[in-house]
Symmetry: C2
Subunit: 515 residues, 2 copies
C-alpha cells in the first residue's frame, strides 16, 4: 500500500477532474445542483488495433465502480484540501457554502444507476451504464466512472478476441510486469471476464478466487548454471519439488538441442515415480515451427498428451498465424494438426494488458436529460460530425433475436416505449434518414431489455454474479453473435438502431439547436 | 478505496507472479535462498511509437517503488492465503517450512538498491536500478518493481517528448478518464516528472503539491441550452464565478460563429470589472486553422495576450504538425507566428497517459551475479539474438561529458574499475567486437557516476528530491543531450559502451556457455 502517497486521497472521491468540481460549484451557485440529471456512458467506436478492428465489445467493470462509489465520499480531509485551493488572485476557489453542501451531500448515496450486466456483448452508441442523480454529484462521478469502465471494457474485449482465436484452448494472463502500475489488477479482472482462464498475479487471483498459475523463469536455469550445475539438474530440482504441477521452460540454452531433450529426460523420471508432467513452455523463436518440433520429440518419447505452452508477445493476430502455420505444416511432419492445436496453451502478457494496437477505449459520459419544472427534458449535444451526436433522452436498450436465436440488432427506444407492441418493428439507422429495417415480431424469438437497475438512490438492488457466471454470460452472448461479427479482421457491422420515436426526437432537438 | 477487492492483498507483497514464489520455494529447499544475488533492471529498446522512436528515456518511479517495498510484507493473511494453494494432486503447494521462512524474512528489509535518480535521461542496456539481496527475496520483488518502474519511465518519456515539441509552452495532463484504472496516479506523477506542468486530477495534485487545473466541459453549455438559456449566458455565469481563472471552451455550438464571439463579449465585460481572462479552449476541428482564426478575432478585440488552449487527441506528432502549419500560415493572415505559438497551451489526455503508439516499456530484471563460496560470481544469459544478451556482473554506469559539456556516451564498467584513471578511455560497442571508440581524458569535462545508493539493507540512505527538483534534473539532462538525440523522428543513437574489462568478461562468459 502506498502510505506516502495517500491512497485515501488519490483513490477516493478526489479521483476526479478539477473541472467537475468547478462546474459543480457553478451549479450550486445557480441553484440547479440538485436537479435530476441523467448521463449515458457509451463508446462511439470499437477498439481499432490498426490492421484489425473489433466487431463487438465485452462489458466489464461494473462491480468495481459500484464498490468505489460506495466507499468514496467528501470527508473532513477532502474538504480541507479543496478549501486550500486558491484563484489566480489569491481568493478561495471553492467557497464555504459550496464546500458545506459538498460535505453534507458527501457521497454517491443519491445516485441511481442502470447498466448492462458485465460479460455481455455491447456495441457503439448504446448506453452501457446510465447514471441518474443530482446534477452536481452525477457530474463529479464522470471521471472515475470513465476511468474504471473504459479500461475494463477495453481489456475484456481484447481478452475475448484472443480467447476466440485460440480455439478454446487455455489462456493464461501474465502481463503484470508490463502493466500500468496498479491498473494491472483491474485489467486482470477484465481479462478473466473476457476469456483468460487464469492469471499469474498472486494477490488478485486469491481475492477473485482463481488459483494463480506459474512455472519458472529463465533465471532459475541461469542460476543453476552459475552455480556449476546444468539445465538438466535445474529441471530435475523443479520436477522433484513440483511433481504434479511441472511445466518446464525449455529455451534458456537451446530449445531443440538442450531444453526439450532435458525436459523429456525429466518427464521420463517423473513418470517412473508415478507423476504426470504437465508440459513444456516455449518463450522465444518461431513458435509454430518449434511447436511442431516439440510435439514430434515429445510424441516419440511417448509424451503425447503433455501441453505445449506458448508465450512471447502473443496477441490475437500472431496466435492466429501460429495456428494457421501449424494447420499447414504439421501434416508434413506426420502430425495431426488438430491434435497439436488442442495441446497448445497460451501465456499472454504485454499485448493483452495494454490492449496492444489501441490502448484506450474512447468511452464518454454525456448528459441526456435534465429536470426542468416538473419534467425530465431530453438534452442533446450537436457536432459537425453526424456520428458524434449522442442519442438524447431516457432510453432502454433492447436486444432482438432472430428465428435462429441469434442477436440480430440492438434497438434503442425511449424508456416508456413498449417494443413488444410495435407491429412491425421499425429499426432506424441512428444517423442516416434514408436507412431503416423492418422486422416482423413473429420472426423474432426474443426481445430482451439489456439495461438492468443496479442502484436505486444509492441502494444496491442487484446481486453481483461471481466472475465464473460473468464468464458464462460472455460465452453465451458470443454464441448468439454471428460469426461475421466475431471475425478477427474486417468484421461485419452489428446493427444498433433507433425506434422511430427516438429518431424523431433526436432530429427535432438537432433542428432546434441548428436554427 | 476498493474495500471489497482488498487492496491490502492485491497491492501488497502478493502483487507478484506465482512463479516468483515457486522459484523462491525451490531456492529455499536447495538452501540457496539467502545467497546474495544481484539483479539489474534495464530496457533493451527505446519506446517505438510506430513512425517514430524515442532517442532517450526519462527515469521515473523510484520513490514509489521504495514506498511500496517499505510497506509490503508477508503478514498473517498473506501466509494463510498461500497455505491454501494446492497442487494438482491436492497437496499443499507451499510447504510449512518455506512459509515459516517467508513469514520470518517477511519483507524487503534485507534488500540493497542502487539507482539512477528520477528525472535523469537513461538509455538501453544500462542498469537503471540494481537490486542486491537474498536470492529468494530479490526474485519475489521482480514483478512489482518492473510493473511500477516500467510504466513511470514509459510515461515520463512520452511527456518529455511532448513537452519538448511545444517549444516550452504550458502542458496540461488530463487523461484520467482514458487511463488504466488506478494506474492513472502513477502515470500522472510520471507525466509531471517528464514535462507536464499540471494535471486535471484533483487527488494526486493535492498529494504531490500541484494545483489541479480545469475549466468547464461541453456539458455545462449543453445544460444552459437545455434550461432555455444561451451559450453567452453560460460563459457569463462561469466568468462571474471564476473571474480570475476563466478559460472558456468555445466549440460546443460553433467555434467561429458562436463560441469565440461570445467569449470575446464576456472577456470585454470581465475587463470592465477589472478582471483578466485567461483564455479560450479549442477542443475539435482543425486546431491550427482555428488557432489562427481565434488569434485574429481575439487580437481585433484587443485581447492579444489571452491564451489559446488546444486539446483533442494531441501527442508529439500532431502538436508538431500544428506548430509547423501555424509557422507557415499565420503570416498569411497578418499574424506573428512566433507570438501565436507562444500563446498556445496544450491539454493532453489519452495519448500521453497510454503512451500512444507504444503502450509498454519492455524493461526486464536480470540476474547478473550470485554469491558462490566467498565471492560474488558474474552471471549471464545467452540468447540467439546478440542484443538480448545482458551485461553480466556488478557494474557502475558513467556518463561522459565532452568539451562542450554535452553528454557524449554512457559507459558501463565493472564496479571496481576507476574510470578516471584509464588513459585513454576505450569504449567498446556492447556486442560488436570490431567497434570501439577512444576518448582522451583531457577532452572530457566531467565523468559522472549515475548509480546512487538508495537502500542499504532495507535502510533508506537517500533523500528523495521534491518533484520540482526532479523536473529540473530532467531539464538539465536534456540541455546536455545533443539535439540529434532529442530529434522527434529518427533520432541519432546515443552511445552506451562497455569498458574493455567488462567487454572481456561478457565474451568469456558467453564462450563458456556456448561450448
Amino acid at each position: 500500500m502506498l502510505k506516502k502517497f495517500n491512497q485515501n486521497i488519490t483513490e477516493g472521491i478526489l479521483y476526479t477532474d478539477q473541472y467537475q468540481l468547478m462546474m459543480a460549484q457553478l451549479y450550486y451557485k445557480m441553484g440547479v445542483h440538485e436537479r435530476q440529471a441523467r448521463f449515458d456512458h457509451f463508446f462511439r467506436q470499437y477498439p481499432d488495433y490498426g490492421s484489425h478492428k473489433a466487431g463487438y465489445c465485452i462489458n466489464a467493470g461494473l462491480e468495481w465502480i459500484i464498490d468505489w462509489m460506495q466507499n468514496s465520499y467528501f470527508g473532513e480531509k477532502e474538504i480541507e484540501m479543496l478549501a486550500t485551493q486558491k484563484t489566480v488572485n489569491g481568493k478561495k476557489l471553492f467557497e464555504d457554502d459550496f464546500l458545506n453542501w459538498l460535505k453534507k451531500s458527501s457521497s454517491f448515496e443519491s445516485i441511481s444507476m442502470d447498466s448492462i450486466p458485465e460479460g455481455r456483448t455491447v456495441h457503439p452508441n448504446e448506453p452501457i451504464t446510465v447514471v441518474t442523480g443530482p446534477l452536481a454529484i452525477a457530474q463529479i462521478l464522470e471521471t472515475s466512472l470513465l476511468n474504471q469502465l473504459n479500461f475494463q471494457i477495453l481489456i475484456a474485449t481484447k481478452a475475448s478476441r484472443i480467447k476466440e482465436v485460440t480455439r478454446n484452448q487455455l489462456l493464461l494472463e501474465f502481463g503484470t510486469r508490463r502493466a500500468q502500475d496498479r491498473g494491472a489488477n483491474a485489467g486482470i479482472r477484465a481479462a478473466l471476464i473476457g476469456g483468460a482462464d487464469y492469471t499469474s498475479n498472486v494477490g488478485i487471483s486469491h481475492v477473485l478466487g482463481f488459483p494463480p498459475k506459474g512455472t519458472h523463469a529463465h533465471s532459475m536455469v541461469q542460476l543453476f548454471l552459475s552455480l556449476g550445475m546444468t539445465e538438466l539438474e535445474a529441471f530435475q530440482a523443479f520436477a522433484d519439488l513440483y511433481p504434479d504441477d511441472c511445466i518446464l521452460l525449455v529455451d534458456t540454452i537451446n530449445t531443440l538441442e538442450s531444453g526439450i531433450p532435458n525436459a523429456i529426460k525429466v518427464f521420463g523420471e517423473m513418470k517412473k515415480k508415478g507423476h504426470r508432467p504437465i508440459g513444456i513452455r516455449l518463450d522465444s523463436g518461431d513458435l509454430a515451427y518449434l511447436s511442431i518440433q516439440a510435439a514430434k520429440m515429445l510424441n516419440e518419447a511417448g509424451f503425447t498428451e503433455e501441453k505445449i505452452v506458448l508465450s512471447n508477445e502473443l496477441d490475437e493476430l500472431n496466435i492466429w498465424q501460429i495456428i494457421t502455420q501449424i494447420s499447414e505444416d504439421a501434416p508434413k511432419h506426420g502430425l495431426d494438426a488438430d491434435k497439436l492445436i488442442h495441446r497448445l496453451t497460451y501465456g499472454v502478457g504485454t499485448r493483452l494488458i495494454t490492449s496492444s494496437g489501441d490502448a484506450a477505449l474512447g468511452g464518454v459520459y454525456k448528459l441526456v436529460s435534465v429536470q426542468n419544472g416538473g419534467e425530465q427534458i431530453p438534452v442533446i449535444k450537436i457536432s459537425e460530425t453526424q456520428e458524434k451526436i449522442p442519442n438524447p433522452g431516457n432510453k432502454q436498450v433492447w436486444r432482438l433475436y432472430n428465428s435462429n436465436r441469434m442477436a440480430t440488432a440492438d434497438l434503442l427506444s425511449l424508456q416508456d416505449e413498449d417494443i413488444e407492441k410495435m407491429h412491425p418493428l421499425v429499426l432506424h439507422h441512428p444517423n442516416d434518414q434514408t436507412k431503416q429495417r423492418i422486422l416482423k415480431q413473429e420472426h423474432l424469438t426474443k426481445i430482451e431489455p439489456l439495461l438492468i437497475r443496479i442502484l436505486n438512490e444509492g441502494k444496491l438492488v442487484y446481486d453481483f454474479p461471481p466472475i465464473q457466471e460473468i464468464r458464462n454470460t460472455r460465452q453465451k452472448d458470443l454464441e448468439q453473435l454471428d460469426a461475421g461479427v466475431k471475425r478477427l479482421i474486417n468484421p461485419h457491422r452489428y446493427h444498433v438502431s433507433l425506434t422511430p420515436k427516438l429518431f424523431a426526437l433526436k432530429n427535432e432537438l438537432i433542428s432546434k439547436l441548428r436554427i
